[in-house]
Amino acid sequence: MATRLKHMAGAAAVAPLALLARVLDPPLRALQRVAGQGGMITFFLVPNMAIFGIFVLLPLCINFVYSMTAGPELFLAQRDWVGGAQYAKLLDCEDYTRPATCDEDLFWTAVWNTARFVVVQVTLLVVCATVTALILNRELRARGFWRAVFFFPVLLSPVVVGLIWRWILQRDGILNAAMLDLGLDPVNWLIERGWAFAATVGVTIWAHLGFYALILLAGLQAIPRDLYEAAEMDGTRPARMFWRITLPLLMPNLLVVIVLALIRAVQVFDEAYVLTGGGPGTATLYMTQYIYEVGFASLLKNPGLAAAASILMGGVLVVLTLVQLGLGRRGESKGKAR
């Protein structure tokens, strides 16, 4: 595999790197003598962590400070310190389940829309990905082709995905034209609340399905055949085999899929933004769009409020992270057990 990869990447790309690595060896050996193994750990970590620190961590910290300030200025030094006022504003609400009673009603609309989206989208996505993986795991002719079919949209940019589907779903799009031809009444897919929500769910599933299906397919292929053989000899029914053998052994992969899908669903933005723009009304206004518009895209920017919203959203995501780590650990121990 490794050698073939080298050929694919082209000797031109790898050869200088290989040479560089060899040239680097003597000085690094010297470094190792001086700094010891601990020093080498630092050496391996530094390049990544430096870039990570400057371009990921530092902005996050600045963002945190931002959330404590107010004003239209974009540079920290000129902003007014207001402490927790932005958070207070976001959380000022009589009844959190009814955004209309909140001071920042759009924030809470976005929160509940996102929650609804996450539940529906992740459930459907996992089910579809599982079915796809099960089908791709069958004895098919031209398996590579079929895998390709489902994986293809993963490689498109989210903006393009949103754009294509908008052209298809809008009132004067191809889908309605086709329905007219079939004698059906056209549906205003992006203008009716339920359909517009369904469209954001469907299109994001369309775009990501292939990725998750492949992870699950890998899990299916790793299930030892002899388990099925033994079950078959015992006369176990296929449906029972699925629940008793396939599903439990697929669990580690399924958990990875669920957690990754959850995180991406909370962040939903590009595809939905291009597709519905958050409409109709605010029916598909999701968190990231709210933050993006308040903090950056509107004429009168309010980066402080946007930062506070993003910190709150970050809090939710950290909870999801902890869940992921917990599940991941369980998945790891299961993986070892098998």
């Binding site: 690094l28 601990g38 974009l74 590579g144 079929w146 754009l163 004067d172 780590l325």
Partner: protein
């Protein structure tokens, strides 16, 4: 093959169709239409004229009105199928139109004039591709330069990503040290911060470091991707420590262990990261749009969006250039499909 995974792997009961077979056929059939259909539609749309794009109901193929040159008229005249009063159909050219009444002439006999209500005629059209959607932007704007910039960003970002991420992943998977879990948690936690929420702070850093309007300003914030570190680390965990211990016995340096032993064994995961990095960086839109506002550093995605104005969007150009930018991605896909699928199989799992 034995009957082992029968219920999942082939038609049940020989000649008779089991319901799972039906589901399979339906699912795969729907898959082809749903997954490829939209992309085909995009390509066809990109070949339509602006008027054709706005048309409803939309036509599947791009059409252009047929015209004919008639003696005595400077410009070619559009052709229409007209139903005469006696019920016969004729193909006539429109000389002029005033309100709802058009004056039609027979191209073969220009003096034979006929007044026709515009509701009683159909334009004659033939499939015609608006290649100017492609040629005009490529001539007018410096898309070749944009492509160079895109390639530079993609290649450099991918190389840096692979090198720095694999080094960090190596340290985080093969050494025990204090603070390891802290670093790990930090990385995983930032996995979930979408770029669009830290645009403003990130911009102030880019501008403070003088990277504004440079390609490095596009590259650097993306290369320390937590996803990459996470993915590689998970894969490296599966490499047995015994191999590394054995190498140490043979006096291999830590660098050699990383370079000669761990990296080659991580090749499938590296391939996946490389492919995804290429696709991501090639498709990146929001961030380059924030950093780049000079033509000489435009990437393709920014360049093609210069056709999005305040009050009008020149969709015909945007669609065409979108198709152009998709070509490399499709090529990557066609040639490296095996690596992607095999690689994901090995990585996302553990």
């Amino acid at each position: 093959m034995s009957r082992v995974t029968a219920f999942l792997t082939r038609r049940r009961g020989g000649d008779r169709w089991h319901w799972t077979d039906v589901v399979t056929v339906l699912w795969l059939g729907a898959g082809v239409i749903l997954m490829f259909g939209p992309a085909v539609w995009l390509v066809l749309s990109s070949l339509k004229t602006p008027a054709g794009l706005a048309e409803f109901p939309p036509t599947l193929l791009p059409y252009a009105a047929e015209t004919v040159v008639v003696e005595g008229y400077d410009k070619p005249l559009p052709l229409f199928t007209v139903t005469r009063e006696d019920g016969t159909e004729a193909v006539l050219a429109e000389a002029r139109r005033v309100g709802t009444v058009a004056q039609m002439i027979d191209p073969a006999n220009p003096d034979d004039k006929l007044r026709v209500n515009i509701a009683e005629r159909e334009p004659v059209r033939a499939v015609g591709f608006a290649w100017e959607n492609y040629t005009q932007p490529l001539v007018e704007r410096n898309f070749f330069l944009y492509a160079q910039n895109s390639v530079f960003v993609t290649v450099v970002a991918t190389i840096i990503t692979l090198v720095t991420n694999s080094m960090a992943a190596f340290a985080l998977s093969k050494y025990q040290f204090r603070g390891r879990s802290a670093v790990l948690i930090l990385i995983v936690a930032t996995l979930m911060i979408p770029l669009s929420v830290i645009l403003v702070p990130l911009f102030s850093i880019i501008s403070a470091t003088g990277l504004f309007n440079t390609l490095w300003g596009v590259i650097l914030p993306t290369v320390a991707t937590p996803t990459g570190v996470f993915l590689l680390r998970q894969y490296m965990l599966t490499i047995p420590d015994e191999i590394i211990e054995a190498a140490r016995m043979d006096h291999a340096s830590e660098w050699q262990i990383y370079w000669r032993i761990v990296l080659p064994l991580t090749a499938p995961a590296l391939a996946v990261l490389a492919i995804f990095s290429v696709v991501w960086r090639w498709n990146d839109f929001l961030w380059p749009l924030v950093v780049l506002s000079r033509q000489d550093v435009y990437t393709l995605q920014v360049g093609l969006n210069a056709y999005a104005g305040e009050l009008n969007v020149q969709w015909h150009f945007i669609l065409a250039m979108t198709v152009v930018t998709m070509i490399p991605v499709v090529l990557v896909f066609v040639f490296l499909q095996r690596f992607i699928t095999a690689g994901i199989a090995g990585t996302g799992v553990k």
